[in-house]
C-alpha cells in the first residue's frame, strides 16, 4: 500500500531564545525548542504520550503572557516569542526542583537509576546548590515493593509524573497502574494492589524518568558507565524490534529499547526484553567434536570441517545426493541461511532443504506486503485469531495505537471464522489490512480475497516464526523455491518430510544448523536425527544436536556474530557483535559453512564474512539491494520499499 500523499503541513515561524524556527502548525513548544536546539527539561512529557503538564518542570516564558507556560502542552503560534533562559525561568526551575526533592529519599548510591536519572541530572543542572530541608522529617513510603516478578516500585523515589499511569492507559490500555491518595500522600500503585500481569511491563522502568520503577532482572547489576551498548535486533520474534544490548564483563545484563518508529515505536515486549539470559547460557558448544570413527574427540573447528567434508564426500560417492538433506533454523542470519542453501543445493546437489516443519507451497512476497507502520493507516485491520499477537507481542501495541490514537477499526476474528460474512463487519469501505500468523496463511488468503471482492484495497501482513523466518524464506532455504522465491524444477522434501525420511532410514547424511525451537518441540525430531548415520551439526548450545551429531561444529549466539536478519514485514536489519568471542574461539558460523562447501568442491566467490556475503545475496536477490540502514526489501509488484 503506498502511503497516501498528505498535503504539506502549514509552517509556523516562532522564535526560541531569539532563534527563529519554523515548525508545522500544531507542534508543541517543547518540540519546537528541540528543533531550535534549545534544551527544555521535562519529566511528565513523553514523545509517545499525550501531554498532561503535571510536573511543571518545562515552564518557560512566552511573549507577554504574565504567567510561565508549560512547553510540553503549549501549541506554537505564529510569531510566538519563547524565552527559556531568563532569570525568572531559572528561578522557577530551582524552586520546582526543591519541591520535587522535598520528600525524595536521595538514595542515589543504592538506586539502579543512578547515573542515568533525569532527577539527578536536572537537580545538578537546575537545582539549588544546597537543600533547605532537613533530612529528617521526610514523608516515607514503601521501598523495594515488587509489583510483579519483573518490576520493583520504590514509592519514595516517585516524582508523580504520571508517565507510568498514562503508559498503562494510552499505550497498553490495561490501566494497571493508578495514583492513590491526595496531596503529599499521593503514591503510585497497581489497581487494587493486584500484581502486574501484562506482557509489556518492561517498558515501565524506561518511561519512568527516575528510579521509582526498576527491573528485577537488572536489580543492582551495574552502573551505566560500566556498560557497553550494542545496537542490534531483538531475537525474541520476527517483528524486528530495535534493541540496545547492554553488556558488562562480556555478559548481557539488559536489553533497552531504541525508538524505531517504523517497527517498535520504542516499546519492547517482556518476552523479548527479558529473554537475554539465553545469550549468557553456560552449556555451550565451544570446540568442535568428532565421533566419526571411535569415541568423541575434541578438535579444532576447521579441522572438524575438513573431516565432516570428507565424510560427506564419502556418502556422496556411494549414494545419490537425494539421500542427503539440510535443515536450518529461523534463528540463522540471512548470510548463513543463504550459505546453507548454497551448500545444500549447489554443492551437495540435494533438493531437500528447509528451515521449518510445515510445507509452504506457492509462497509469494505479496503475503508480506503490508508494513507494520501502515497498520495505522488502514481503515480496518482484520486480525486472524490470537496467534499473530502471541507470535509477535509488540503488534498489540501498534494495533491499540491505531485504534486509540488514529480511530481505526481493529477487527479480531476467530482464525476459522467464515470469510464471506466478514465483509459486513468492516466499518467503512477503504483500505483493509489482514494480519495473520504464517500457520493461518491459507485462511488469510481466503479472508483477503473475500474482502477484496467487497472492499477493494486489501493488503496482508504475515507473521513468521523465529527471528529470521522471513529471511530464510526470502533466501530460498525452502524446498522447491530458490533465493527470491524463484520456482525450481525439482521440488524437495519439506521439514516434516525430511524428518520422516530420516526416521525411516532413507537419509544417509544430514547437515543441520540449530537450535531450531519449532523442531525441538516435536518428538519426531530426536528420533529422526538419531537414525541418520552421518549428522553434521552446527549449533551454539548443547542439546539434542550435540548429543547425536557425528561432526559437531561450534556455533555462535546472535550476540556473538554479525549479519543481517529480515523481519516479517521484510525489513533487513543488522545484528552486531555484543559479546566478544574469547581469544582462540572458533570462527563464525558463516565461515564454517563456507569452508564446508569449499572442501566439498563448491565455489564461494567472496570472502566468508558477513558484509561480502550480503553483497552475494544482493546479486542473487535484487530485492535486497537498497535495504541498507534497516529498510524493507523492495519486491517487484508489491508496491516497493517503505
Amino acid at each position: 500500500m503506498s502511503a497516501a500523499p498528505s498535503p504539506p503541513p502549514e509552517l509556523v515561524t516562532l522564535t526560541v531564545d531569539g532563534r527563529a524556527v519554523s515548525v508545522p502548525a500544531g507542534t508543541l513548544v517543547w518540540d519546537a525548542c528541540e528543533k531550535a536546539g534549545v534544551f527544555v527539561p521535562v519529566y511528565c512529557a513523553h514523545k509517545k504520550m499525550d501531554p498532561v503538564a503535571v510536573c511543571r518542570m518545562c515552564l518557560i516564558e512566552v511573549g507577554t503572557m504574565p504567567k510561565l507556560q508549560p512547553a510540553c502542552a503549549t501549541v506554537v503560534q505564529a510569531g510566538m516569542e519563547v524565552r527559556t533562559a531568563t532569570d525568572r525561568v531559572q528561578r522557577f526551575r530551582q524552586g520546582n526542583m526543591e519541591f520535587l526533592l522535598l520528600n525524595h529519599p536521595l538514595d542515589c548510591p543504592v538506586c539502579d537509576r543512578g547515573g542515568e536519572c533525569d532527577l539527578q541530572d536536572f537537580a545538578q543542572r537546575y537545582g539549588p546548590p544546597r537543600s533547605r530541608t532537613a533530612i529528617t522529617g521526610k514523608v516515607h513510603f514503601d521501598k523495594a515493593r515488587p509489583l510483579s516478578d519483573r518490576i520493583m516500585l520504590d514509592q519514595e523515589r516517585c516524582i508523580l509524573c504520571w508517565r507510568c499511569v498514562r503508559y498503562c492507559d494510552e499505550i497498553t490500555g490495561d490501566r494497571a497502574i493508578v495514583l492513590q491518595e491526595r496531596a503529599v500522600h499521593t503514591v503510585v500503585d497497581t489497581f487494587e494492589g493486584r500484581p502486574l500481569t501484562g506482557p509489556f511491563q518492561g517498558n515501565l522502568p524506561e518511561v519512568c524518568p527516575v528510579g521509582a520503577l526498576t527491573h528485577t532482572a537488572y536489580r543492582f547489576r551495574s552502573r551505566p558507565w560500566d556498560l557497553q551498548r550494542t545496537p542490534s535486533v531483538c531475537p525474541g520474534c520476527s517483528y524486528g524490534c530495535t534493541v540496545g544490548i547492554d553488556s558488562r564483563d562480556n555478559a548481557v545484563v539488559r536489553f533497552v529499547s531504541q525508538d524505531n518508529p517504523d517497527v517498535d515505536d520504542s516499546w519492547l515486549c517482556d518476552r523479548g526484553r527479558y529473554g537475554f539470559p539465553e545469550l549468557n547460557r553456560q552449556d555451550r558448544v565451544l570446540t568442535a567434536e568428532l565421533s566419526l570413527e571411535g569415541p568423541v574427540r575434541a578438535v579444532g573447528a576447521l579441522e572438524a570441517v575438513g573431516a565432516a567434508a570428507r565424510a560427506l564426500a564419502g556418502v556422496l560417492e556411494r549414494h545419490d545426493p537425494d539421500q542427503v538433506a539440510c535443515l536450518g533454523t529461523p534463528q540463522m542470519t540471512n548470510e548463513e541461511a543463504f550459505c546453507l542453501q548454497w551448500l545444500g543445493r549447489d554443492v551437495i546437489g540435494t533438493p531437500h532443504l528447509d528451515h521449518q516443519l510445515e510445507p509452504w507451497p506457492d509462497l509469494a512476497p505479496d503475503e508480506f506486503r503490508l508494513a507494520i507502520r501502515e497498520l495505522e493507516d488502514c481503515d480496518t485491520v482484520v486480525v486472524l485469531g490470537e496467534r499473530p499477537e502471541a507470535a509477535t507481542p509488540v503488534l498489540t501495541l501498534r494495533l491499540y495505537k491505531a485504534e486509540r490514537k488514529r480511530g481505526r477499526q481493529v477487527l479480531r476474528i476467530a482464525a476459522d471464522a467464515d470469510p464471506t460474512e466478514l465483509a459486513g463487519r468492516v466499518r467503512d469501505r477503504g483500505r483493509v489490512g489482514v494480519v495473520a500468523h504464517e500457520a493461518d496463511r491459507d485462511r488469510a488468503r481466503a479472508v483477503a480475497t473475500a474482502l477484496a471482492a467487497a472492499n477493494g484495497s486489501v493488503h496482508r501482513l504475515t507473521l513468521t516464526e523465529g527471528m529470521n523466518g522471513r529471511g530464510c524464506k526470502d533466501l530460498g532455504l525452502l524446498p522447491g523455491l530458490g533465493p527470491g522465491y524463484r520456482r525450481l524444477d525439482r521440488a524437495g522434501m519439506h521439514g516434516r518430510a525430511i524428518l520422516a525420511a530420516a526416521a525411516e532410514g532413507r537419509l544417509r547424511a544430514l547437515v543441520v544448523v540449530g537450535p531450531n525451537p519449532e523442531m525441538e518441540q516435536d518428538p519426531a525430531y530426536e528420533a529422526a536425527i538419531a537414525r541418520v548415520p552421518l549428522v553434521v551439526a552446527l549449533t551454539p548450545v548443547r542439546g539434542l544436536l550435540s548429543r547425536h551429531a557425528q561432526a559437531l561444529l561450534p556455533g555462535r549466539t546472535m550476540a556473538e556474530k554479525q549479519g543481517t536478519v529480515t523481519s516479517s514485514e521484510g525489513r533487513v536489519q543488522r545484528i552486531r557483535v555484543a559479546l566478544q568471542p574469547r581469544i582462540g574461539a572458533p570462527p563464525p558460523e558463516l565461515r564454517l559453512l563456507v569452508e564446508l562447501g569449499r572442501s566439498l568442491g563448491g565455489t564461494w566467490e567472496s570472502a566468508p564474512l558477513a558484509t561480502p556475503a550480503f553483497d552475494v545475496i544482493c546479486d542473487a536477490v535484487p530485492a535486497y539491494r537498497g535495504t541498507r540502514g534497516g529498510l524493507r526489501a523492495a519486491w517487484p509488484g508489491t508496491g516497493g520499499a517503505a
Partner: protein, 154 residues
C-alpha cells in the same frame, strides 16, 4: 688551605657523633604522615556491617578505571551492609592505581579510604589486584579466605 681542611673534617666529626638516620627496613618502618595515601582500606561500622554499599561511584570517579565493583542485593536476614545493596565483589588493581584518592572523595558512605600502607611489592601480578578480603578492615569472626595477599590491612 689548612683551615678549609679542618673545617671539612669538623663536619665529618659532627656527623659521626650524630645518631644514625638509617632504619632496618622492612623490620622497622617509619611512621607515615597522617594524610599519606597508601593502599586502600574498606571500613566497617561498629556493628561489623560493611560501610560499602556497592554503589560503584568510586569506580566511576577513578581516573584510571582500576576499581571493579559487582553489586548484589542484601539478604535481609544476613545483611552484609546496611540497606538493600552491597558489594559482592570489590577489586582494585594496585598496579594501575595512581593513589589520587578520588575514590575516597567519591564514596558516599566513607567506606573507602587510602591507608598508610605503602609497601606493595609482590612476586605475582595477580596478587596486586587487591580483593575485598585484602582490603576489608579486620573484624572478629572475619577470616580472609586462604592465600590472600597481605592478609588484611595494617
Amino acid at each position: 688551605m689548612f683551615r678549609e681542611l679542618i673545617g671539612g673534617l669538623r663536619i665529618t666529626m659532627q656527623a659521626m657523633l650524630r645518631k644514625p638516620l638509617t632504619i632496618q627496613y622492612p623490620e622497622e618502618q617509619r611512621p607515615v604522615p597522617p594524610r599519606a595515601r597508601g593502599r586502600h582500606i574498606l571500613h566497617r561500622y561498629d556493628n561489623g556491617l560493611e560501610k560499602c554499599i556497592g554503589c560503584e561511584l568510586c569506580s566511576g570517579a577513578c581516573p584510571v578505571g582500576c576499581i571493579y565493583v559487582l553489586p548484589a542485593a542484601n539478604d535481609p536476614a544476613h545483611p552484609v551492609s546496611p540497606g538493600e545493596r552491597f558489594a559482592e565483589r570489590y577489586e582494585i588493581n594496585l598496579m594501575r592505581c595512581i593513589y589520587c584518592g578520588y575514590c575516597a572523595e567519591a564514596c558516599p558512605t566513607e567506606a573507602i579510604t587510602l591507608g598508610p600502607r605503602l609497601d606493595l611489592a609482590d612476586y605475582k601480578r595477580e596478587r596486586l589486584v587487591a580483593t575485598k578480603a585484602d582490603l576489608l578492615e579486620a573484624w572478629p569472626g572475619f577470616r580472609p579466605p586462604g592465600g590472600a595477599a597481605g592478609g588484611g590491612p595494617r
